[in-house]
């Protein structure tokens, strides 16, 4: 079951890289966060770790529902351009993404060798991190860059739950708080500015 959701997590991120519409991108981010939340719940149940269960629920509520909702309302309030064509052409992206996946599996090998449990998941989290960076790089518009940053945070969360069997509860909650603060700052940055290039 965990394998299935890890696969969905990676698949949703790859699909997001090819998306050319903003709302569709937000939907894929929401789905990516949902699979992450479910993964936290599954691994938390397996490890009997209540802290991970709480963060799993928080992930679903904040990242899968709250943040996409706020970003969508920002896009309506500030009239974002909804056509977001990636700078990297599809035919090149199709070659680049598997290359990143293979490269990160090779790169992460010395790290995964040292991690007793879920070593493949660690490699997937690292490749997700690179794919999120690619999402930030392949768009000129600000909105997909924000989604790229949020996806990067999701990849780090996945790394946290797979490589370390969960970070301390305090740290997880702090990261959520900072994420909400980031949304407030993003709102202020958009506020009262011309959105021609956003």
């Amino acid at each position: 079951m965990v394998d299935f959701f890890i696969g969905l997590f990676l698949a949703s991120l790859i699909t997001a890289l090819f998306t050319t519409r903003l709302y569709r991108l937000l939907m894929w981010y929401s789905f990516n966060s949902l699979t992450l939340g479910i993964l936290a719940l599954l691994i938390g149940t397996e490890l009997e770790d209540n802290a991970m269960l709480i963060t799993g629920v928080a992930t679903i509520l904040i990242k899968a529902v709250g943040i996409p909702y706020f970003l969508k309302s920002f896009s309506q309030k500030f009239h974002f351009v909804r056509q977001i064509t990636p700078e990297i052409k599809v035919q090149y992206a199709i070659m680049l993404i598997p290359a990143i996946l293979v490269f990160t599996f090779y790169l992460a090998e010395p790290i995964t060798n040292m991690i007793a449990n879920n070593s493949n998941y660690v490699a997937i989290s690292i490749s997700s991190l690179f794919l999120s960076l690619l999402l930030m790089m392949e768009h000129k518009n600000v909105a997909p860059k924000i989604v790229g940053f949020l996806s990067m945070e999701n990849s780090l969360f996945l790394l946290g739950i797979t490589a370390t069997d969960g970070m301390p509860m305090l740290v997880e909650l702090g990261i959520f708080f900072d994420l909400l603060m980031a949304i407030v700052v993003i709102n202020l940055l958009f506020n009262r500015e011309e959105m021609k290039n956003a």
Partner: protein
């Protein structure tokens, strides 16, 4: 004690919501109150547990917090006359203070933390709050750079979190959830079963911190942001935010020294020399004050990191203190020198008349010459001690000749920077036309505070305190 530290910050945050044109004046004075608990922390017996094992005060972080609170006062004083030099609305002023308060909360937690997670949360909070401070300047360049800072800053901070997760993963088998605790991790560093995993984590976290400080390959991003934002923001970046970043580097590298010193030294040595090499030539080509001081800040942070990993703790901390006072002082002076958008270097120091004017150009000259390590600047002494520490490391590692060569290259690069600063100073003092210019009492007062703090750094009690930090 934590309440006392947070109280002025919370008052500033609350007052920033009051819509009165006179609000910014009391706000500046409330910033002074942060100094009192910071000074008290210096005197308390160490280690002092401020919040269980999460926030622990030791000699190192008490010093960094005290230096930061002095810088905070200087910046708050200069903020009082910001509207005299640049166009800024009352609303933007209040919002600036609101985010200044959030910035302080983040800093207090990251500087005093004994926990990798809390350190990261504090740093992220401080980083996010500065994004809006950049935006206070309603120009297109500032708007672009605020987004730039948000995105590059987010990547840098994510790299730090990535590194922390790997470090935590490497130490969790022996320490459990306490693997986030800096002191415990340091005590059990030699027992870590996967040192390679720790080192990978450390290297990634360090690269994140280096990016935040403008090291190779991101040498210009900070300079562009500081150019686009108002000058107090640049002062806050160089005097306070970078302090929070470098204390993280100090903590992480202390543990890395126990795991494998040679790997740590080689990594930081190559990285910092490469950074100084590129920065020295960028400084040589610079044509405005902000970029000049910003790039010089990158050079000094690289030197601090190099001295620290060479075992020159005293040299690194003295250099850190001097840089934390000198760079904000120079940035705040820039605000006066470039008043109303006049970015000319030639003749910038001419036209300051009367007692205030004379004192202003004297202090600016003093800071400019002190930042290039002319004796008796604290930076002169810190560099002597720092290079001494590097030679000692080379002696124990039997590669003295290579180190001498590296120091020679460093001195050549520093001399390029020295030449540029002297040229800029001469152009400011002896070239260009003379126009009547004005400097305000609060700005002058903040520069006097920085000058006194610099002198205090080379007094025996402060030197002894710094030597006592191991």
């Amino acid at each position: 004690m934590l309440e006392l530290l947070l109280l002025p910050v919370l008052v500033i945050f609350g007052l920033s919501f009051i819509k009165s044109p006179k609000t910014h004046k009391p706000l500046a004075f409330i910033s002074f109150l942060i100094l009192l608990p910071s000074a008290q922390l210096l005197r308390l017996p160490k280690p002092f547990h401020l919040l269980g094992d999460y926030l622990v005060v030791d000699d190192l972080n008490a010093y960094v917090l005290f230096v930061s609170s002095i810088v905070g006062i200087g910046v708050a004083l200069a903020l009082m006359t910001l509207d005299k030099h640049v166009k800024v609305s009352k609303n933007a002023y209040r919002r600036f203070y609101r985010f200044f308060a959030i910035f302080w909360v983040g800093l207090i937690f990251s500087i005093l933390s004994n926990h990798m997670g809390i350190y990261w949360i504090g740093l992220e909070l401080a980083t996010l709050s500065t994004v809006y401070m950049i935006k206070t300047n309603h120009s297109n360049a500032a708007h672009k750079e605020a987004w730039n800072y948000m995105i590059v800053g987010a990547i840098a901070i994510s790299l730090i979190l990535f590194g922390i997760i790997l470090i935590y993963a490497s130490a969790k088998p022996i320490l459990g959830e306490d693997a986030m605790n800096f002191n415990l991790l340091l005590a059990h560093a030699k027992e870590i079963k996967s040192p390679f995993l720790f080192e990978i984590g450390f290297a990634i976290a360090s690269v994140g911190m280096f990016v935040k400080m403008g090291f190779f390959p991101m040498n210009l991003w900070l300079a562009n942001i500081e150019r686009a934002s108002f000058y107090p923001v640049a002062a806050l970046f160089s005097g306070i935010l970078e302090s929070a970043v470098i204390i993280g580097f100090f903590r992480f590298s202390k543990i890395a020294m126990e795991v494998n010193y040679n790997h740590l030294f080689t990594f930081v040595f190559i990285y910092t020399i490469l950074t100084i090499f590129i920065v020295s030539f960028l400084i040589f080509r610079t044509k405005d004050f902000m970029r000049l001081f910003s790039l010089s800040g990158v050079e000094h942070m690289a030197l601090i990191a190099l001295f620290w990993v060479s075992g020159g703790t005293f040299a690194a901390l003295l250099h850190f203190g001097a840089h934390a006072f000198l760079k904000p002082a120079l940035f705040l002076s820039t605000g006066v020198l470039e008043s109303n958008g006049k970015y000319r270097i030639a003749g910038a120091l001419k036209g300051y008349k009367g007692k205030k004017g004379t004192l202003f150009w004297f202090l600016v000259s003093l800071f400019l010459l002190a930042v290039i390590s002319l004796p008796p600047s604290p930076m002169f002494f810190s560099e002597i001690y720092g290079f001494g520490a590097m030679i000692n490391v080379a002696k124990s590692g039997h590669h003295l000749l290579a180190m001498m060569g590296a120091i020679l290259i460093l001195l050549i690069l520093l001399s390029i920077i020295f030449y540029k600063f002297v040229e800029v100073y001469q152009s400011m003092k002896y070239e260009g036309e003379e126009h009547s210019k004005k400097v305000y009492a609060s700005e002058l007062f903040s520069l006097v505070i920085f000058a006194l703090a610099l002198i205090a750094l080379i007094t025996p009690p402060v030197m002894n305190y710094l030597k006592g930090i191991s």
